[in-house]
């Protein structure tokens, strides 16, 4: 008779049952959607980080951040013999420079040995982050200057005229610009840790140990397409001619690799003039339990360096992915909690008012021999079933919401700070940088922007947990109702309605 009575009671008060169920279903659906989105954002963040730091990188070690005012812009010096003069007297200038990140210091290459020797480190590799900047432009023949018929060079503006100048140096009509692409010098013999651990070879070959000291390059497939380069072509990097031997693509179809170009580390060090240094050391811990201990040990061993974990790196992710993450974590979570509390409160209120309405009925049941516990159990059961109905409806609603998100698959941008550090303002003009270098250049160039498709993965435990939440809500409401029913004296109940 328990289930018969329960079923008939809920059918008899459909409106109340519907209100409680709707409230609970909205709460449960929100919990499922918010949790799924949170998981999706975490996956997207991991994906964004993987494209930069590779699979299996637990920690990164980078140099100390430069103080404001330190570091200078790249210099493009053109001597009297620089440039080529055309028939019309126009001078064409072009020069490439390979430079490190001015806003962050480098690490001595021997630091890699210190890192590898730390207990708990399974693998480590170093890389040198560089930017290849190519200055190219044309200067028209200066008015009043002798025609360059004998091929002699006209006077050129010196590089120490200070930054901020752009366009032709005082004669008008000239034009010049700066192109850049990112270059990563890596150890060709060890790509198990670091950015190249998260790529697939799409054409040609990867860098090998034998490539050390040779001017060969592997390109990011997307960059190669935009620069119209293919395997077998040559390209200018830092003034040297490199042969393209392979193309790589990110393991994620929605993100690019960490750099446009990959060259052997020793070649990168020599061409940039940086010396025997690296900018980032990628570290893989022996197990996830040891990450924290390894991070501490590294920080003690290298007090001047910055040691970052995945969580620290995740905080560097900017762009709309970061905003989405904050929105879901803060607003989404609080909204779920508030709606759940309101739904449970509704259930409690309706249950208690139901007890008041059923005073005679419950008093009669006690009078004909029903025990207190039996009456309380009946009332609680009605609340739990009401909430469970809402929970099931909420699961369906949540699944629909998650399916819609996965079908729409919104694309959001993310910009994890590549090359191990936060990006900073662009090159300064400390010792008189080249003309036309303007602020903000290096900082924005150094950031790798990727578009990530946001999914909302669903796991069974989220669905079960959300359903359990609804049941618990019903139990809470049932407890309040049961308490009221238990207090009901049959004699008073029957007197009250006599």
């Amino acid at each position: 008779m328990y289930w018969t009575y329960l079923r008939r009671e809920l059918s008899g008060r459909k409106k109340q049952t519907a209100i409680v169920a709707i409230g609970m279903s909205i709460a449960v659906a929100l919990v499922i959607i918010v949790n799924a989105l949170s998981a999706g954002v975490s996956d997207a963040q991991a994906q964004a980080l993987e494209s930069v730091y590779g699979v299996g990188t637990d920690l990164t070690v980078t140099g100390a951040q430069a103080e404001p005012g330190e570091g200078g812009g790249p210099r493009f010096d053109f001597d009297e013999e620089g440039g080529q003069i055309g028939d019309d007297g126009t001078t064409t200038l072009t020069q490439s420079r390979l430079t490190t990140d001015m806003m962050r210091g480098t690490l001595d290459a021997s630091t890699l040995d210190s890192v590898t020797a730390i207990d708990g480190v399974a693998a480590a590799s170093g890389a040198l982050s560089l930017t290849n900047m190519t200055f190219s432009g044309e200067l028209p023949q200066a008015p009043g200057d002798a025609a360059g018929t004998d091929g002699t060079q006209q006077q050129m503006p010196q590089g120490d005229q200070g930054g901020g100048q752009s366009g032709g140096g005082g004669f008008g009509g000239g034009s010049f610009g700066v192109d850049s692409f990112s270059v990563l010098g890596i150890d060709p013999g060890d790509t198990s840790v670091g950015p190249l651990s998260a790529v697939t070879l799409s054409e040609g070959r990867a860098l090998e140990s034998a490539d050390a000291g040779t001017e060969v390059a592997v390109l990011d497939a997307t960059y190669a397409a935009s620069a119209d380069l293919a395997v077998g072509d040559t390209m200018d990097i830092g003034g040297a001619t490199f042969e393209v031997v392979g193309l790589v693509a990110s393991a994620s179809s929605d993100a690019d690799t960490a750099s446009n170009v990959y060259i052997p580390l020793d070649v990168a060090q020599e061409l940039s003039g940086a010396g025997d240094v690296v900018s980032t050391i990628y570290v893989q811990a022996a197990s996830s339990d040891q990450i924290s201990a390894v991070q501490t040990a590294l920080q003690e061993e290298l007090p001047d360096a910055t040691v970052s974990s995945q969580a620290d790196l995740a905080s560097t992710v900017s762009g709309s992915l970061s905003s989405a993450g904050s929105l879901i974590t803060n607003l989404g979570t609080w909204l779920s909690i508030i709606v759940l509390v309101v739904a449970v409160a509704l259930a409690v209120l309706f249950t208690i008012s139901g007890i008041s309405r059923r005073t005679r009925e419950l008093g009669t049941l006690k009078a004909i021999g029903w025990s207190n516990s039996r009456v309380v159990g009946q009332v609680a059961g009605e609340s739990v079933v009401q909430a469970f109905i809402g929970g099931v409806a909420g699961v369906v609603l949540g699944l629909i919401g998650v399916t819609i998100i996965n079908v729409v698959a919104p694309t959001i941008s993310s910009a994890p700070a590549a090359f191990g550090g936060q990006t900073g303002p662009g090159g300064g003009s400390g010792d008189g940088g080249g003309p036309g270098m303007g602020g903000g250049g290096f900082g924005t160039i150094a950031q790798t922007a990727t578009d990530i498709v946001l999914h909302a993965p669903l796991s069974l435990w989220i669905v079960v947990a959300a359903l359990l939440l609804a049941v618990v809500g019903g139990l809470v409401a049932g407890a309040f109702g049961g308490w009221r029913a238990a207090k009901l004296s049959p004699a008073e109940a029957l007197r009250a309605v006599a």
Binding site: M1, T4, Y5, R8, E9, S11, G12, R360, E361, T364, L365, K366, A367, I368, G369, W370, S371, N372, R374, S489, P490, A491, L494, R495, V497, A498
Partner: protein
């Protein structure tokens, strides 16, 4: 003074245990801030198998007395014995057991559950006994048959007349095979023909040995009883002639 049923006391057979023995029963309760003294020292014996009516003015304590007899409440003072068990000192669990097995209750307003059928309402009275479904169904069928409603088991209260609803309530009360049937104004909401119908059912049950105690305003009902009591301002007296 204890009111004793003399006719039973004179019986040649060995004296049976009375269905009820009340000694010095007092009941007070608070209502709207005032203390109400519903029963002021009631002494009473009701023999097993008797048909007793309790009459009296409104507010005289009739319903209170019925609730004490029905183990719905406990006296403020005194003793209420049903068989050998003293309800005045019984625990809540004991009172629940007495209500579940020994006492059947019929209310003026029938107090049926409107969402359940007649058969299901009768079955609700058997829930506390924990019977197997087959045994429960047999008792339900038997109870409905005894009140003449075998063909109305699947009807809801809203589909039955007042008299039929009261018969369902009686079936619910007797399905558990109680010692005593207590009825609080069982014909109060019924017209004359239905009243006679219900009284006929109750008399038939009493004839089968069921102790019947009826609270009523209706003299026509009271006249059908073997013994008549009057409760006025908390005190009781026998008015049987």
């Amino acid at each position: 003074m204890t009111i004793i049923d003399q006719s039973v006391a004179d019986a040649a057979a060995a004296p049976a245990v009375p269905a009820y023995r009340l000694a010095g029963v007092v009941k007070t309760y608070r209502q709207k801030g005032r203390e109400v003294r519903a029963l002021a020292g009631v002494d009473l014996e009701i023999a097993a198998g008797d048909f007793v009516t309790i009459q009296g003015p409104t507010g005289g304590g009739k319903s209170t007395l019925l609730q004490l007899l029905g183990a719905l409440d406990v006296p403020t003072d005194g003793h209420v014995l049903i068989g050998e068990a003293d309800l005045a000192t019984a625990s809540r669990g004991d009172l629940e057991r007495v209500r579940a097995r020994e006492i059947g209750f019929v209310f003026q307003a029938f107090n049926l559950i409107p969402t359940l059928t007649a058969a299901e309402n009768v079955a609700m009275g058997l829930e506390p006994l924990g019977l197997q479904p087959a045994d429960r169904d047999i008792r339900v069928t038997d109870a409905l048959a005894r009140v003449g409603l075998s063909d109305r088991g699947d009807h809801r209260p809203g589909e039955l007349s007042g008299g039929q609803q009261q018969r369902v309530a009686i079936a619910r009360a007797i399905a558990k095979q109680p010692q005593v049937l207590l009825a609080d104004e069982p014909t109060g909401n019924l017209d004359e023909s239905m009243r006679d119908e219900i009284l006929g059912v109750l008399e038939g049950l009493n004839a089968g040995g069921l102790t019947l105690i009826v609270v009523t305003h209706d003299s026509a009902v009271a006249r059908r009883a073997r013994r008549r009591l009057r409760l006025d301002r908390g005190t009781i007296r026998d008015i049987t002639r």
